[in-house]
């Protein structure tokens, strides 16, 4: 049995000293190559959980371990270079072209220029943006969906062992979203990346997750396989399940 790649132990966090807890009593283990999808309503603390992993914030109580090491002991720069991060509002650098955006982390890692170019072009093809058309464009010349694809490509640039994704497909139309989700599932399996993905879309969770964690008020209500979550009797989980508009015959009734 290998040790978990990301591990939360009784983690608590709140933003201001008097404020309510954003995360409280959170315990969760994510294994190598696993895709855990965290679902929950806005403000449930999902994004904060991701920020605890790459040390954008430090826990006030409990321990977060990445690859067996307390994030407090990690050198923050070294830790973040092992973790790809797709932001909710993408955060592409507006003064860099698409290709430069995708190549930024390799550049920080001081890869040679031609290797950065080749890598950026491969990644653009991977997320379905032909390099010939898109490499030289500026972020302002892209649609919302195209920007999110660039964001995913940027996060994958140096094959990070861990990938954190915050609503990565939110701005896409339903058809493109399903396309990209499939593409993503294929890439993930190919690279065996450990993924924690945050969404408020239950359908996305079912499409991608090996395990689904339902987050409410900063802690996990349940974290289990999609099948088990679908059968949960917890009212908070049921509330989320009700948002699914099931086509006939696909329902969670079996």
């Amino acid at each position: 049995m290998t040790s978990p790649v990301v591990q939360f132990e009784e983690v608590g966090f709140h933003y201001s000293n008097d404020g309510a807890a954003a995360v409280g009593g959170l315990t969760l283990s994510v294994d190598r190559g696993e895709v855990v999808v965290l679902v929950g309503r806005s403000g449930a603390g999902k994004s904060t959980i991701l920020k605890l992993v790459n040390r954008m914030v430090l826990p006030r109580s409990g321990v977060v371990r990445v690859e067996g090491r307390d994030t407090r002991e990690w050198q923050p720069i070294a830790l973040r270079r092992r973790i790809g991060y797709v932001l909710q509002d993408v955060g592409l650098f507006p003064h860099m072209t698409v290709e430069e955006n995708v190549g930024i982390v390799p550049r920080l890692e001081r890869w040679p220029g031609d290797r950065i170019r080749a890598r950026a072009r491969d990644l653009l093809e991977l997320v379905g943006l032909p390099a010939g058309t898109f490499a030289a464009r500026w972020p302002s010349e892209l649609s919302g969906g195209q920007r999110q694809r660039v964001g995913v490509a940027r996060a994958l640039a140096i094959d990070p062992p861990i990938l954190l994704m915050d609503e990565p497909f939110g701005a896409l139309d339903p058809v493109t979203r399903v396309e990209l989700q499939r593409e993503f599932a294929r890439i993930q399996q190919q690279l065996a990346t450990t993924v924690i993905l945050v969404t408020h879309d239950m359908a996305e969770a079912f499409a991608l997750a090996r395990r689904i964690g339902v987050v409410d008020a900063g802690s996990l209500v349940v974290c289990d396989t999609p099948r088990a979550v679908a059968h949960s009797h917890d009212p908070r989980v049921k509330l989320l399940l009700d948002t699914l508009v099931m086509p006939p015959g696909v329902g969670a009734t079996s």
Partner: protein
């Protein structure tokens, strides 16, 4: 317009030099301000506890009038003194505020998610600053640089008041000669410079907004290159160390006298640096004592009262001795008087004098209830100026005196803006504008004999200065002086040329 073109044509060499000085003043000061201001802005953004007082200081500095700034800096060692150094320090301080403020503003306006993306990627604070924060704040920083440059072009014209050169020299010279052409000859190129600088930076700013990634590095290299070229240019304009520096105050007679001294010394085979048009008595005296100038022409009465705050004997010889004795204590040697007495003259329009039968200052008492006097700033303040005058003659003017620049005062009287002024007895404007000088029947005004005052150290180092001055002693009469003033002020001749003609006639 043709007069102006003619002026530029005949002064082409000088114009080029002044434009170059002006550009160097602005580029070096704005460049220095950018080198200090951008890092200061970054610091202020990341450490608000340091930043807030920093911004406050820059704000306060901006509110100090530039002339007052020059005055504060003059007596200070290293950064002070007459010449380009003080001007550069002042201009740099003025350029700081817009640069610091726009740097902070640009950084504050950054999209939070973009900065977060940089942090999450494992950028070090340095990488974040250089790759993300600064490039994105650049358009804002450039806007500040633009404002600073345009302000700099304007403020640099005032630098001529303390002998730093630049296009302000024409403006000040023109003001003191009441010559619009000369003023415009400086003002128009200065305005053009401001427009060119503004346009050029606007172009750069627009290119930055849509820039190719490598042009940031290119423009940084270009900026450094400009600063280096400017510094080289600067060092070549600074004076040769062994020359004698002649100064003068900022009115025509003083400029002519400065030329007279300079050419007499040059005739002895010594190189001379001219720092003419420096400002009033106080600036010249400070410059002399700090060694920034070696010699200038003072007047006995002015020296004793305005410089040494003593009472002036009404006997000219006694006044001279007192000045000599007081100067000697401060390491300054007073040489023999040039020959003329430039006392104050209380002037009225000739028409008024005829109509009201005004002959002496005493006669003014019948008119004072309705008249407005106009005086120079120094005359208003000095003990031997307006306060003593009104006491001695029992004058109580109905309206408060209007303070105005010496260069404007004769014209103001002729145009009827004021009714009585204190001017120079040797002024060319008296005849030119049909004014009448009233007799000082109670001998209120002390003698104002023109005396060259020279730093004793410079005199010991260059015996030629003493020889040159001895040739001028007693040779410049009041009539000579008025004629030379008229040649410059009315006939628009070059002070240099007028002084040369006078020296040639001496031989």
């Amino acid at each position: 317009m043709t007069v102006l073109l003619q002026f530029w044509q005949t002064h082409a060499g000088e114009l080029a030099r002044l434009v170059a000085q002006h550009v160097v003043l602005v580029v070096v000061s704005t460049g220095t301000a950018a080198l200090i201001g951008i890092p200061a802005g970054v610091l202020a953004f990341h450490r608000p506890r340091v930043g807030r007082p920093l911004l406050f200081l820059a704000n306060v500095a901006q509110t100090i009038p530039s002339l007052a700034f020059f005055g504060f800096l003059l007596p200070l060692p290293f950064i002070g003194g007459v010449g380009p150094r003080t001007a550069l320090v002042t201009l740099t301080i003025y350029a700081l505020l817009p640069i610091v403020r726009t740097t902070v503003g640009g950084l504050q306006g950054l999209d939070r998610s973009v900065v977060d993306a940089g942090i999450a990627m494992g950028m070090t604070p340095r990488q974040l600053l250089l790759l993300v924060e600064l490039p994105l704040a650049m358009p804002s920083v450039l806007a500040g640089l633009r404002v600073a440059t345009v302000i700099g072009v304007g403020t640099a014209t005032i630098a001529a008041a303390i002998g730093a050169g630049g296009l302000g020299e024409y403006i000040f010279r023109g003001l003191s000669m009441v010559d619009t052409t000369t003023i415009l000859a400086g003002a128009i190129p200065a305005a053009a410079l401001a427009l060119v600088a503004d346009g050029g930076l606007a172009l750069l700013q627009r290119r930055m907004r849509r820039r190719q990634p490598s042009s940031g590095r290119l423009s940084a290299v270009a900026l450094v290159a400009i600063v280096i070229v400017a510094l080289l240019g600067w060092s070549s304009t600074t004076r040769a160390s062994r020359s004698v520096v002649v100064g003068s105050k900022n009115f025509t007679e003083q400029v002519v006298l400065g030329e007279l001294l300079a050419q007499a010394i040059e005739a002895e085979g010594i190189p001379v640096t001219r720092k003419l048009n420096l400002g009033g008595t106080f600036i010249c005296d400070r410059a002399l004592r700090s060694g920034d100038i070696d010699v200038y022409v003072e007047y006995t009465g002015t020296a004793v009262t305005a410089v040494f705050h003593d009472d002036v004997p009404h006997d000219p010889r006694q006044a001279f001795e007192r000045a000599r004795e007081r100067y000697a204590r401060g390491g300054v040697t007073t040489l023999e008087p040039l020959g003329f007495n430039n006392t104050f003259a209380i002037l009225v329009r000739a028409g008024d004098a005829r109509r009201l039968g005004l002959r002496s200052i005493e006669d003014l008492r019948q008119t004072t209830s309705s008249w407005t006097p106009g005086f120079g700033y120094e005359f208003l303040e000095r003990a031997d100026g307006y306060p003593g005058l009104s006491q001695t003659y029992g004058l109580q003017f109905g309206r408060a005196p209007r303070a105005m620049d010496l260069s404007l005062i004769y014209k103001a009287l002729a145009d009827g803006q004021v009714d009585v002024i204190a001017g120079d007895a040797t002024s060319a404007q008296i005849d030119a504008l049909d004014l009448t000088a009233l007799e000082d029947s109670r001998r209120y005004f002390p003698p104002y004999d023109a005396i060259p005052v020279v730093r004793t150290a410079a005199l010991l180092g260059h015996a030629e200065i003493g020889r040159a001055m001895a040739r001028l002693a007693g040779r410049v009469s009041e009539r000579d002086m008025r004629a030379m003033n008229r040649a410059v002020d009315v006939d628009r001749r070059d002070p240099r040329e007028v002084a040369a003609a006078f020296i040639a006639a001496l031989r």
